[in-house]
Amino acid sequence: MTTVWPDLEPLLPSVQKPARYIGCEDGAAAKPPDPSLVSWLMTYPDTYEIGLPNQGLQILYEIANELDDARADRAYAPWTDLEAEMRAKGLPLFSVEHHTPADEFDILAFNLSAELTYTNLLNCVDLARVPVRVADRRPTDPLVIAGGHCTYNPEPLADFLDAVVLGDGEEVIAEITRVVREWKASGGEHGRDRDRTEVHLALAALEGVYVPALYDAEYDGPRLIATRPNRPGVPEVVEKRTVADLGDWPYPKNQLVPLTEVVHDRLSVEVFRGCTRGCRFCQAGMITRPVRERPADQVRSMVAKGLARSGYDEVSLTSLSTADFSGIDGVVKGITDDAAQTGCGPVTVALPSLRVDAFGVKLATQLNQARRAGLTFAPEAGTWRMRQIINKLIREEDLYEAVDAAYEAGWQRVKLYFLTGLPSETDLDTLGIAELAKNCVDLGKSKGKRSSVTVSVGGFVPKPFTPFQWFGQNTSDELQRKINLLRDDTRKSKGVQLKWHDPKATLAEGINSRGDRRIGRVIERVWRAGGTFQEWTEHFDLDRWTDAMAAEGLDIDWYVHRHRAEDEVLPWDHLSAGLHKDFLWQDWMDALDEVGLPDCRWTPCYDCGACTGYGIEHRVASATPPAGGSQGTAQDLGTGGAVPVQLLGTRPSTTEASA
């Protein structure tokens, strides 16, 4: 086994943030390179700061290192300054633990959380000295596999990935290890006579593993007719993997504690996986069903042990909607009590997303959160009509109640997250965003506070396996027009700050999100033209994407802006997140009828397929819902939220005149 460290070390004094490349984290695995083990290189295709906190990779890293027949290191995309030096000196991508060249691993495993990291995946594979296309790989090259939310439509990356894992990876990692171990043992001493198709077939036999090379996509002109297995014995449809009980997987046990600052520099404890609120734009919520809550006492002990081990004074309780955790009250109290006992200063508990009501704020208040940072709420849409369409059933009163409670508790800054470009959105709906924000500022003024409200607007990208997968994305011009509407409308309102996501980046995400295999050539072109780090404004250039689409003769309108019909074959139809396609279509129709759908955790099942298809069910930590129930279920869905009278009275007349 070799190490690039002696060659890398002299380069580090002159690159930005060299601590990204040294490893040495507390929690890093010490399992040394050993050719008898199946070696995984867990790779995040973006910088160390963004990739290190990724919980999915950390969990699998730890599990792989606990297996008798496997070991794992980690790698991250080197920043452009180091990459240039590495390419000049002929240094390959390396692991941060042992600085082992990436091509000495058996498996390069990528986490894909964002479409705009796809070009970085190609770059990492290339830096690893591995051919980017599966078809060009030699018998001895590592297997390139990927997991993570984006792999529910892996088709744009089909030419580059040997295998794709759908869903939870905790169990399947041992199965993949076994298959690769057996394959490694074949093909002679140096493996030169190994047959990649053989390992592809063995992997495809595992539940939850999709091997793109074993399927052919058939087209009729631009239309996809089917994606079908090209060999006997390969499943027609690949089902996702679901861990039935999160309590069986208390990982990470030894969360990595980085030496240098990363984006979420704190302890993270996942309190539940899955979400049943049924927000129709939200892919994460749909594909991770059903809800699997971690037992409350396990949460408490993971927090206590994690804090003591790491020395962190902040813990984030992660999930898609942590205030909905049925054991939340007890857990919060337990954490605060445990922390008080150590005497080593206050512990902050962070919730990644707050429920939009007074209950959410009460929780935040209990949690000792820094007032400076402000509170974040995500109403997602500006009008009740729109929120019924997206099934985020927050009434206007809920938001005002939450904001009011936040001001009362000492916060002065409120951040609101919205999407624009949603199905059937009118300018009135868009302007409703500004209206809500202005009302929140006025609410603060009526209390004599200097409140500021930051509005963050993102362009909506329809995602696979959601009811909105049939919807034609707004053009970037249309998104920009809507942002301009908001900008003009809030310009005169002191206290409202508008921020938005670049609609051009939204378009590039759209190309990948619902793209088919033909988009792979576009990704490769963008990468070859130097388009790495597309998540970074300073490196993103839409022209690279539009040029590549044109060069491949592919039509952006057809891929991104076109509404799909019910009978259209979608590029991910041969994959399954458990959700029945007719359930999703019905939900799409309900959306267009402006009908909301309550949370199935506390109401009868709609048979979406996520539980019923796999013979599992929701697992909750407590039999009773948290105070206030799951928001949106206990209220009369027929009524919209009228602005409270008392609030209208507080609005300055100038605002009313201009509205």
Binding site: P18, I22, G311, G343
Partner: protein, 251 residues
């Protein structure tokens, strides 16, 4: 929360920082230290405010990529803590909580009113490797610097370009000998009233000369013309309680 005014015993730690870990920034180091104290369960005095922070004060920041045998940090423990029974084990326990490459080599109780490290450090001794330069050439260059009556150096200070004579900051400069990739200098550089950093010194030796390993061997304080270290490295760690170095600072 303990207010600053009510802080308990103040401790001074000495530590070395070598190997891969030297690529972290000073800011990173401060966060590591905070975490290490929580890991070993030694409650520190906290600052006041919405976001209370433990009070740690360091010597002169070590440049990223430089290693050192002589780093210092002062901490105030919470009033509730009796350090006496704990102190001998602290270097060992803290080292275990810190990453590989950082080892705590001594600890001492500071007298009340002891002056802070930032105020008291006056100079540092460095080992600096110059890359791709012949020994004879380097010796000539060093000779010229030592012989120069003045050495004007243009540098950026608070966003402005200023020129100052940095000769007084070079207290001692010697060529130690060849290394595998170049030559090594030993430099004793003042930090006040005029200061000179290792990278700046290398610029004076010759524009375009590469810098290899930079290693700090000492931070010095000068009191009544006598040069001494803020805390000597314990010859054996932990020291016997009766011979525990308790540092007294004249102020």
């Amino acid at each position: 929360m303990n207010a600053v005014s009510q802080q308990g015993t103040r401790l001074r730690f000495r530590y070395a920082e070598v190997g891969k870990v030297r690529f972290i920034s000073h800011r990173d180091l401060a966060r590591l230290m905070e975490r290490a104290f929580r890991q070993i369960g030694l409650p520190l005095a906290y600052s006041e405010g919405y976001r209370p922070r433990p009070r740690l004060s360091f010597g002169l920041a070590l440049p990223t990529a430089a290693s050192s045998d002589a780093e210092y940090v002062d901490v105030s423990v919470a009033t509730t803590v009796d350090v006496d029974p704990l102190i001998d084990d602290l270097p060992h326990r803290l080292s275990a909580a810190l990453p590989d490459g950082i080892s705590v080599t001594a600890v001492a109780v500071l007298e009340p009113g002891a002056v802070s490290l930032q105020q008291v450090i006056a100079s540092c001794t460095w080992r600096i490797e110059l890359l791709d330069v012949a020994v004879d050439d380097a010796a000539d260059r060093v000779q010229r610097i030592v012989a120069a009556p003045t050495l004007p150096l243009e540098r950026e200070r608070k966003g402005k370009l200023t020129t100052s004579d940095v000769r007084p900051a070079i207290l001692d400069l010697e060529l130690v000998g060849p290394t595998r990739n170049g030559v090594e200098l030993e430099a004793h550089l003042a930090t006040k009233p005029t200061s000179l950093r290792p990278a700046e010194l290398v610029r004076l030796v010759g524009e375009g000369i590469g810098i290899g390993q930079v290693h700090r061997t000492h931070q010095w304080m000068i009191i009544d013309d006598i040069r001494s270290e803020p805390l000597a490295e314990a010859s054996t760690c932990p020291p016997d309680a009766s011979t525990r170095p308790t540092y007294e600072l004249a102020s």
